[in-house]
Every structure is written in C-alpha cells, then in structure tokens.
Amino acid sequence: MSVSASPTRGAAYLHRHPRLRLAGVLGAPLVWLGVLYVGSLAALLMASLWVQDSFTSQIFRTWTLANFRHLASEPLYRTVLLRTIGMAVLVTLVDLTLALPIAFFMAKVARPRTARILVVACLMPLWASYLVKAYAWRLLVIDHGVLASTLGVTPGFGITAAVLTLSYLWLPYMILPIYSGLDRLPDSLLEASEDCGARPWRTFRSVVWPNIVPSVIAGSIFTFSLTLGDYITIKIVGGASQMLGSLVYDQQSLNLPLAAAIATFSVLVMAIYLLLVRRTGALEQL
C-alpha cells in the first residue's frame, strides 16, 4: 500500500511547491550550463593568474598578475589584438555585403520552391568539414593555384587570404538570420513604400534596414566572434601572420598560463561587443 501511495504523495507535494517543481525540471541543465560555461571561464581566468616554469614546465599555482603585465609591456600583443579585431570587422563587413542581396533575393524575389532550394544550398557548406574548406582555399590562393590560373591574380598567403577564407566559412551564419528577418518583413510594407514614391534605395534605408538590424546584429555576433577566436585558418592560409587565436595555440604548449591570459582578451572584446549590442536594444527584438 505505502509503496503505491508514495508516488502520488510525491506528486501532490510537488504540486503544492511549484518552485521545487521548476528546480527539478531546470536544475540539471542549468548546473550543466553553469559548469560548462561559467566554470570553464572561471578556470581560464584562474589559470591566467598562475605562472609556468619554462624549464620544468611545472605550473606554480601562485596568484600573480605577471602574465598580464607581460601582455601590457610587449607591443606584440597590442598589434596582434588590433589586427585580429580589424580582421573580425572586415570579415563581418564582407559577409554583410554578400549576405544582404542573397538573403533579399531568397526572401523577397525567388519563388517559395527556389527559396527553399537556396536555403539548402546555403546550409550545404556547413556539412563539409572546416578543415577541408580551409585547405581548399589554400589550393585556391597558393602561387600557381586555382585563382592564379583562372583570374591571373592571387593574394597569396597572408591576411587577405585569411579574411577571404573566413568570410567564406562564416557566410551562412550571416545569410540565415538576415533571411529569416527579411522573411518576417511583410511584403505590403515594401509595396506601401513604393506607392508613396520611394525609390529602391530609399525603401531599403527607411523600411528594410531598420527592420532587419536585429538580424544583422545576430549575424555579426557569429561572424565577429568566430573570427576573433579562429586559429586554424590563419595557420593554413595566413602565411607567417599571427592572430590572437594562433598566439594562444602556440603558447598553450609553451606556457599555458600565458595562453590563458591572452585568451581573456578575446573574452573581454566579445563581452564589450555584446554590451554595446545590448545598448542598441537589438537583442530584445530578436
């Protein structure tokens, strides 16, 4: 008797305590999230305050700001940080320029069937491995490579090649949010604008753009943050150039605490970026 009664009693107890019910449902995933995201960030921050002996590769768990002092005193890190931010901005702009017309065509011009095919086409590259695509670009931009033999010019390995490759890699992440933003924009608004005598550019500026700003920002968060943390593309097509990510990668086997300190840079930049985005109010409209 008591055995069969206990689940009912338990259910009744939970029914009377909605807070506990919520905790039961959300507790596990939230702890998981907390440990994964907040925990790993905390571990990163902590590691950046340690030091490593370059000879014995022992890590001394003493709290010191030595790594950050080192980062501040070496002009190299400032140069690389600025270069990486510049590249992230550039990649975002290139992707935005490419994504806007494509997304507009998909959402407003193409028939629904064509639009669906185009969406699939946009998603297709995501099925191929990142490495395969980066190496494909290596073959494109290499001396006497595909670009050189078809177009006659190639940027060669370097920053330009890295920006091109990254723009290609992250393009779908920009197209899709803008497409869904445009898709939600009623056609009647565009027609109304036209009826009022607005030319296409005026319609874009006054009707389309204000409505898709949140989508553009969503896309830019992807392209910006993915570029900021990238370390593989720069190694494959970047020639001898370094980015923040490749500094972290090179340092992690030499000096883990210093690598952690460098990595806090990109966390910081992203936090500032998200705060700025929040102030525009774009996040609430998503």
């Binding site: 905790a23 959300l26 507790g27 939230l30 702890v31 999230l33 907390g34 440990v35 995201y37 907040v38 925990g39 905390a42 571990a43 902590m46 002996d53 370059s54 000879f55 014995t56 590769s57 022992q58 001394f60 768990r61 003493t62 080192h70 070496e74 190299l76 140069t79 690389v80 290596r138 290499i142 001396d143 006497h144 490579g145 060669g156 390995f157 020639g239 001898a240 150039s241 370094q242 500094l247 090179d250 340092q251 992690q252 086997s253 030499l254 000096n255 883990l256």
Partner: protein
C-alpha cells in the same frame, strides 16, 4: 530564472576554486631550474622487466614509429606488436614543445625526445631514469652518444639513444640558382627569394641564426648557439626579424612544408632529410648540409615516470634500437643510427658512411638542440644567459 543561473554559476565557481585550493601552494616553493647542476626529482628506476602489459602508447617524431599506413613498405610497428604482444598506439608531434606538453598529460609511456625536450622532461619529473640493463641493445650504441649532456644527469642515463642528424637546407633547384652552399641563402641573401623563404616554427630556430652569426660576426663571440647572453641574443633576434620580411610561411607540420615546396610557394628553407625525401619525389627539390655546419638533433627514447605500460615501453625502446630496426628507421628518416651494428643492415651499404654514423669527430661538430637556460651552457659564469622563456617570447615577437 536569472537567480538560478547565478546560483548555478556561483556553485560551479566554488567547486573549481575548492579543487584548486587543495593543490595550490604546495609546489610553489620549488627553486628555479639549475642547469647542468640541477637535481632532478627523485623518481625510482625500474629494476626488472616484467610481463608485457599488452599495450603501449608511443609519442614520436614523424617517421620514428611507422606502421605501414604512410608507406606500405615502411613498417616496424607491426612486427614489434607480433614479437612482444604490445599493441602500439602511436601519436606524432611536430615540435619539442608539443612533445613536452603531451607528455605532461601522462597518457604516453615512451617518447622520442630531442635535446631541447629531454632535460625539461627530466627536470619536470615527467620521465624516469632509464635502466640500461633492461635494454640489451644499449651495449651496441655508439659510445659518443652515452652519458651526454642531453640524455643523462650526473652519470645517470635517462633513455635509450635513437639516432642523430643535422638540419638541412632545402631548395628548389629550378628557381634557386646557383645551388646554395651556406645558410647565408636564408639570412643575408634571403631577399632574393622574398615571400618564398621558410623556417622551422619553434623558438629553437633562434639557434640557427646564432650559429650563422657565430661564423659571420666573430666579434659577438658566440661559442655555443644555445648559450646566448643578452647582446648575442638581440643580434640573433634582429637577424630573424630581418629574415621574417622574406618568409612566406613557417612550418612545424612537415606535410605543410612538403606541399609548399611542391607547389613552389616556398623555394628555400630549413628541413630534415625525411621531408626532403618526400618533397623531392617528382619535383626539383634538393637538400644540402651547408658547408659551415648546422644545428641538429640527437634523440633519446625516454620512459614516462608514470607509465601505465612500463614493460612494453622498455621493450619498445630496446626494439627500435635493435640493429635491423634502427637501420630501417635511420634510412627512412635520414639520420645516423645510434646502434653501430645497424650499419650492417642498411639496404644501402654506404649509408652509415654517408651519415658519418661512427664518426665521433663529425658528430661533435653538429650543434644539437638543447634547452637554453640561465646558466650559460658554454661554461661562462660572468654573465647570465637568456633562457627558454626569453626565447619563446622573442619567437612570437619575431613572427609579429
């Protein structure tokens, strides 16, 4: 909802902090590394060889533990597995720094360590003293490889010598004319090949510049490219910064160097014999040992202090330096075998002569990779030398 997130986050933070607090502090008082005179942590040496554990995790330079997957005719891992019953798992690394950080994980039983990794592994307590009695092939190892600075501490061997060789200068014979004979081609003469020069992507490459300065700028008085005081070091770094303007890419992954040379996007730079062998297949790529000498490596198989399969690790170290296998590896990789009996088993009978395998005088002319430390390796006591931390910082600065 928000409160919950914060609570969960705070909980996780507390957990991480707590777990770190218990281990922190205790090891923070260890003294700085002490060069040749340093005392390695007390790690017991294995006394006898027990039964095979059935598995071994090998950490090796590319080409040192081939199992036929790269080239069907090159396979000495499979016979080892059959002979000893130790299933081998092989992981390759590209730089000594990578080797040290991978060894620190404790996942590997045995590692082929070069001189710029070996003492760091010893000092860090990552590898154990090596009982040479448990590896019978040690008896046949060239005497000039035993008890050296890079593989022993205070008369105690820390591994099984494997082989040694020099870093070479590789070039595209079609574009680089006349054929280079000196490292000047990648330093003072590098601007001729702007954007098509390559160099090894590791701080240890600074020694190559120091070696070049040793010969071209005698007033710097460099005696050992791994023992550089501040002014000598600055000269080497500025030479490398000048070289950087002509470098297309740096390499540490050897397949990347091969592809760059084959495509012609790189035409000159430092290399190893094994890379030259692969790159020269079907393309006009050649490699030379420059007349003014070179940096090089002398590798040692070391057994992890916390090896999960120590018996198989010893069996591997003994097997890979056995006459026949050592000959195979040496010929494949392009280096002098440590085991002098290997010379009777090479397919090319003049191989050992070509690599000066038993020529102690020649072997002593190569500047083997060693870890730079504060106490100058060339014996100077009146100055402080730059250490590996300085080298790693400078290396990232050079790349810019």
């Amino acid at each position: 909802m928000r409160k919950w997130t914060i609570a969960a986050g705070a909980g996780a933070l507390a957990l991480v902090l707590a777990s770190c607090g218990t281990s922190g502090g205790s090891d923070s008082a260890t003294t700085a590394p002490g060069g040749k005179g340093f005392t390695p942590p007390d790690i017991p040496m294995q006394k006898s060889l027990g039964k095979s554990e059935g598995a071994v995790n090998i950490l090796a330079w590319p080409g040192y533990a081939e199992d036929g997957s790269n080239d069907k005719t090159v396979d000495w891992v499979t016979p080892f597995e059959k002979q000893t019953g130790c299933q081998a798992k092989v992981k390759y690394f590209g730089t000594s720094d990578e080797a040290v950080s991978l060894m620190k994980t404790g996942d590997y039983d045995v590692v082929s360590a070069s001189g710029d990794a070996s003492l760091r592994l010893v000092a860090g307590g990552i590898v154990a003293p090596f009982n040479t009695k448990l590896a019978p092939n040690y008896a046949d190892v060239a005497p000039f490889l035993k008890n050296r600075d890079w593989n022993s501490v205070k008369g105690q061997m820390y591994g099984m010598p494997h082989g040694w060789g020099a870093n070479l200068l590789m070039y595209n014979a079609k574009t680089v004319k006349p054929a280079p004979t000196s490292w000047a081609a990648v330093f003072d003469g590098a601007s001729k090949f702007k954007g098509k020069v390559t160099a090894y992507d590791s701080p240890i490459y600074i020694a190559d510049a120091a070696l070049y300065l040793m010969q071209t700028q005698p007033d710097l008085k460099i005696k050992n490219p791994y023992a550089l005081d501040q002014s000598q070091f600055d000269a080497a770094v500025s030479l490398l910064k000048k070289q950087r303007q002509n470098v297309g890419e740096y390499w540490s992954d050897y397949t990347k160097e091969v592809s760059a040379f084959k495509a012609g996007s790189t035409v000159i730079g430092t290399t190893w014999q094994v890379i030259a062998n692969i790159a020269s297949e079907g393309s006009p790529v050649k490699a030379v040992l420059p007349k003014n000498g070179s940096t090089g490596w002398s590798d040692t198989w070391m057994v992890a202090a916390k090896a999960k399969h120590p018996n198989c690790a010893y069996r591997w170290a003994n097997y890979v330096v056995s006459p026949k296998v050592n000959a195979q590896v040496a010929e494949y990789f392009g280096e002098a075998p440590a085991n002098l009996k290997a010379c009777q088993h090479t397919s090319d009978k003049s191989f050992c002569a070509g690599y000066h395998a038993d020529d102690a005088a020649y072997a002593n002319k190569i500047y083997y990779w060693s870890t730079p430390i504060k106490q100058c390796l060339d014996g100077r006591t009146n100055v402080r030398c730059t250490d590996y931390a300085d080298w790693t910082t400078a290396w990232q600065e050079i790349k810019g």
